[in-house]
């Protein structure tokens, strides 16, 4: 990456407002993600984290404001087109295709890629998640919660995205699995994947992220280096519980 500041941003969200009917869920937030970073978006339940990711992914349209991805204005582009531009969202609650096999789920993750690339992408995912390889032919609905999360992440990675957005990957998982998922996020980061991470588990998110934004009922409260926020008294009190 070279050139001006502007082109160094992979994702640039500027002053977006998102509504659900009359409910004003996102009230003018701005933030950015640079290539190679893990940026965390933390905040309490209902703060608007999922709404933000869904809007970037194109599932929701902002009423105003703009979203630029890889230098292109993508505001209002439908989700099915955003995938082809290199954006993947691993949604809250995993939302894997329960009735399809593990292998089919992964194939669907590569829907935006040429068929010739599926096999190698799947090899990569199986290397990262050997557990999925063992369960390849199993119907996804029969997987354990942790395995389903791995499948959801693997499925998102099948499209070889330039930006991977993870919405609460640790939700509902036992502590040991949470550790495992975050270890994988760290590995993906080390391998150069850019990640926008949404978490309620602020402790874990801040320890793996480079930078973070704190979302408070539709607006951004604090932001900064993750390590600094981790030691910030206000953040500790509000989000880390100590």
């Amino acid at each position: 990456m070279s050139g001006k500041q502007q082109s160094e941003l992979l994702l640039e969200v500027s002053d977006i407002h998102v509504y659900y009917g009359a409910i004003h869920a996102i009230k003018g937030i701005s933030f950015d993600v640079r290539p190679g970073e893990i940026v965390a978006l933390i905040g309490a339940n209902g703060a608007g984290k999922s709404t933000t990711l869904n809007t970037i992914a194109g599932l929701l349209k902002p009423r105003s404001g703009s979203i630029r991805f890889k230098g292109e204005n993508v505001t209002g582009t439908p989700a099915s087109r955003m995938v082809f531009k290199g954006l993947a969202l691993c949604p809250e609650g995993r939302r894997i295709f329960q009735q399809m096999t593990v292998k089919e789920n992964l194939e669907m993750g590569a829907f935006s890629r040429p068929n010739t690339e599926i096999a190698s992408a799947m090899e990569d995912v199986f290397t990262r998640f050997p557990r999925l390889k063992e369960r390849e032919k199993q119907v996804a609905g029969t997987l354990s919660g942790g395995e389903q999360q791995m499948l959801a992440m693997g499925r998102a990675l099948m499209g070889k995205p330039d930006l991977l957005m993870l919405d609460e990957p640790s939700m509902g998982l036992a502590p040991i699995l949470v550790e495992q998922i975050f270890a994988i996020i760290g590995e993906l980061h080390a391998a150069g994947t850019t990640i926008l991470l949404v978490e309620q588990n602020a402790q874990m998110a801040l320890s793996v992220a480079d930078r973070a934004y704190v979302l408070e009922t539709g607006t951004i409260g604090m932001s900064g280096q993750a390590a600094e926020l981790l030691n910030d008294d206000a953040v500790r009190k509000a989000y880390l519980g100590h």
Binding site: A57, G58, L59, P78, A79, S80, R81, V83, F84, A88, L89, P91, R95, I96, F97, Q98, Q99, M100, E104, E107, M108, G109, F111, S112, N115, G141, R155, G159, G172
Partner: protein, 294 residues
Amino acid sequence: MAFLSSLVNGLSLGSIYAIIALGYTMVYGIAKMLNFAHGDVIMVGAYIAFCGAQYWGLPPVLCVLCAMAVCTVLGVTIERLAYRPLRQATSLAVLITAIGMSYLLQNLALQIWGANPKSFPTDLIAFPNLSLFSGQLKVSGVTVVTVLANLVIMVALTFFTGKTKMGKAMRCVSEDRGAAELMGINVNRTISMTFAIGSALAAIAGVLLCTAYPTLQPTTGSMPGIKAFTAAVFGGIGSIPGAMVGGLLLGIIEILSRAYISTELADAIVFAVLIVVLLVRPTGLLGKQVREKV
């Protein structure tokens, strides 16, 4: 032998129900709506095939292909114009629209082709009659073609949804529309595709139905449509094998009731069986048991 003969007739009628039920069930599974105009698409298909044979002098194969093409365009257009604008509306609004569409098609047919029943050319499907058990069981050519057509359609659809990219995309949309979009699947296009397939199948069903029961009028599609819808619910709406099983069972029950119990009560018995099945298994015979996930 009389029983066997009834069974064969039931299989034949059931195959027609099954082909129609596939249209209901696929559209329900993917677009999450009941397309009550589906039965009337059958009627349009039959009229087109009729016109092809009677007025345009087309060979039988072209009549059927023509009917399929017209129904495909019709089905996709109905979805585009009437249902797509209601994608976010309540299901009641969509249902009422579908019923309205059904009346619209019937009345258009009344305008174009008139109220007098047409006698459908029974030689459109020319297949030799079979004579089995040294002549004791006669199976008409139409029956053979109907059962075979049903089999071919079933195998083709199973392959399509199980192995092709588009077919798998359909299964994704049916399971979780939002997640499907996140894969890059164009949901609108997938729904159009579903209407196209269902409507093409409706055309085939129309030709088979009218060859077996050769009176064609604007209301020809309604009763088979309702029966096939029942079959889809019976088998488990949303499930492709369910439509097949439901259609076949419904046809067999109907013909056997007619033969052995009462002609007048046959339909009542069909619906009574449906009610019993739904009481025992609310999702139908092969329907997915919805599991609550945490």
